[in-house]
């Protein structure tokens, strides 16, 4: 019960402080820009003579780029909105009036986590829906498994959210933000190193990428999402950034899920133990 109350408060705070609306407004601007770009590209193709297959692949790649931008936005939004959730309230003392109420501390943390998870779900659903609609209605292309892709990006958001919460039980807001963004940056560059390694058959590069994914699996979840959404042709291309050779395996997604659960347990344990 306490967790649901806290989830509701977190959601309401985002709405009251215009965080949710600002994010959705920025998302709408992004979709408008993306739609304009897709429109001009599709219109251009009507005036030039190109095989339908090539046209489809170009527009599909554009769609993938749209999803890529959505993923980046969703992850950054998740970190920025939640980075202050625990550390800020602990530092300001706001948490004291809540933590002394007859609800266990784990419910306070889980409630806030659920609130941010709900917002991330809304954001990912709206943005994925928007990009898919733009692709279909303007470009005439669809991702292969849009729902699987959206769910994986949501998982990635939950992962960075949970890690942000975990470090938020230890560190100040600024330090927490630096750590989580740093970890995601490490995963990001590690992912690209792995892809380049796969494209050039350089085993050591692939190993470096895999290790970085084990340290922080957020980027590997996105690469799996992208792999699920791209066309069969793009999948089979060795030079594609998300070709079969560099796509994280299903067990890596399982690892990311386990990573999330462990981070959540650590966050709950430390939040329960620490002085407020």
């Amino acid at each position: 019960m306490g967790a649901w109350i806290m989830a509701g408060v977190t959601f309401r705070e985002a709405a009251r402080r215009k965080i949710l609306w600002t994010a959705l407004l920025a998302g709408s601007a992004f979709l408008a820009l993306f739609g304009t770009g897709m429109h001009f590209q599709a219109e251009h193709f009507t005036r030039v003579s190109l095989p339908p297959f090539v046209r489809y692949q170009v527009l599909s790649t554009m769609l993938q780029v749209g999803f890529y931008a959505v993923d980046l936005l969703a992850v950054i939004m998740t970190i920025l909105t939640s980075v202050d959730a625990l550390s800020g309230e602990i530092a300001s003392g706001t948490i004291q009036a809540i933590a002394t109420k007859p609800i266990p501390r784990w419910q306070v943390l889980i409630g806030k986590w659920m609130g941010f998870a709900g917002m991330a779900a809304l954001y990912v659903a709206a943005m994925f829906g928007g990009v898919t609609a733009v692709g279909y209605f303007i470009g005439g292309v669809l991702p292969r498994h849009a729902l699987v892709g959206a769910l994986l990006v949501f998982l990635e958001c939950l992962l960075v959210l949970t890690i942000t919460f975990m470090f938020g039980t230890w560190f100040s807001t600024l330090t927490n933000g630096v750590i989580v963004l740093g970890l995601h940056g490490l995963a990001f560059i590690g992912g690209w190193i792995e892809q380049i390694g796969a494209a050039t058959d350089t085993a050591r590069l692939v190993t470096v990428g895999v290790v970085s994914s084990l340290i922080m699996p957020s980027e590997s979840v996105w690469r799996r999402a992208s792999f699920e959404m791209q066309s069969s042709f793009a999948r089979s291309l060795r030079f594609s950034p998300f070709s079969e050779a560099s796509a994280p395996s299903a067990p890596m997604v399982g690892y990311a899920l386990a990573y999330l659960l462990v981070a959540l347990i650590v966050a709950l344990y430390h939040f329960h133990r620490r002085d407020l």
């Binding site: 019960m1 306490g2 109350i5 408060v9 705070e13 009251r16 402080r17 300001s92 003392g93 706001t94 004291q96 009036a97 809540i98 933590a99 002394t100 109420k101 007859p102 609800i103 266990p104 501390r105 133990r273 002085d275 407020l276």
Partner: protein, 256 residues
């Protein structure tokens, strides 16, 4: 620590007969932190509803309780105003209201009058007395000893985390009485004779300072002074203030 904010390094403690850290016992406890902060995007009535819900109160109960509490702390005209528009004093009042929303048996108030004007301080005193009258126990933590003196029944002094002294303001309503008198023609012998009523007597020029256990002996002292030929211009009994008692118990401020 009683509310589970800080973990004990060692030992055990009970609150309302239950080991500290028990979540359910907090249904019977109210708390106002010293530096009360809350979600400033909430309105006063929303804040009270949220705290009430966290305390397990039903919506029906909250519909009665929230307006009553807003009235109690004088914030009814501001019930829909966001807390970010509140002054420090108004925040203290709404903080006090949230501590009492669930009618707790035990209330911890940490510096509840800080930031309040005289009217606000009086309001807090009245609210605390109302809690006492309904049978609740209120722990008032304050450095404003005049407030403590007016409001509390019992007082303890804590120094470096340990209780160093306690004082029951009900059992010894007189406390130690200090009398300041302006006199002339008082001999050292007369001063020495005052020892039969006073615990100390000191003459410094025209200023005679006495200390007694009770006000009942003051007429005897005055009669004795007059009967020995002393001219008494002033004779003012002063109750030893809690502040004096504090200084006496805690010692001089060494700037620590």
């Amino acid at each position: 620590m009683f509310l589970g904010l800080v973990k004990p390094s060692d030992g055990q403690a009970l609150v309302l007969g239950v080991p500290i850290g028990d979540v359910n016992v907090r249904r019977k406890i109210g708390f106002l932190p010293e530096d009360f902060r809350f979600y400033t995007w909430l309105s006063a009535s929303e804040l009270l509803k949220l705290h009430g819900r966290l305390c397990g109160m039903t919506k029906a109960r909250l519909r009665e309780r929230v307006p009553a509490l807003l009235d109690l702390v004088g914030l009814t005209p501001h019930r829909e105003k966001r807390l970010r528009e509140f002054s420090k004093g108004m925040l203290q009042r709404i903080g006090l209201a949230q501590a009492l929303i669930h009618e707790p048996e035990l209330v911890f108030l940490d510096e509840p009058t800080s930031g309040l004007d005289p009217m606000g301080r009086r309001l807090v005193r009245d609210v605390i007395r109302a809690q006492r009258d309904r049978g609740a126990t209120v722990f008032l933590n304050s450095h404003l000893l005049s407030e403590v003196e007016i409001t509390c029944d019992q007082v303890v002094f804590i120094k470096e985390g340990e209780v160093v002294a306690g004082h029951d303001l009900r059992t010894h309503p007189d406390g130690e009485i200090r009398v300041a008198a302006r006199v002339r023609n008082v001999s050292p012998k007369t001063v020495a004779e005052l020892a039969q009523w006073s615990t100390s007597a000191q003459l410094d020029g025209e200023r005679l300072t006495l200390a007694t256990r009770t006000t009942a002996v003051l007429p005897d002292i005055l009669r004795h002074l007059v009967s020995t030929g002393a001219d008494v211009f002033e004779f003012t009994p002063e109750k030893l203030s809690l502040e004096d008692l504090f200084l006496k118990i805690m010692g001089e401020d060494r700037g620590l």
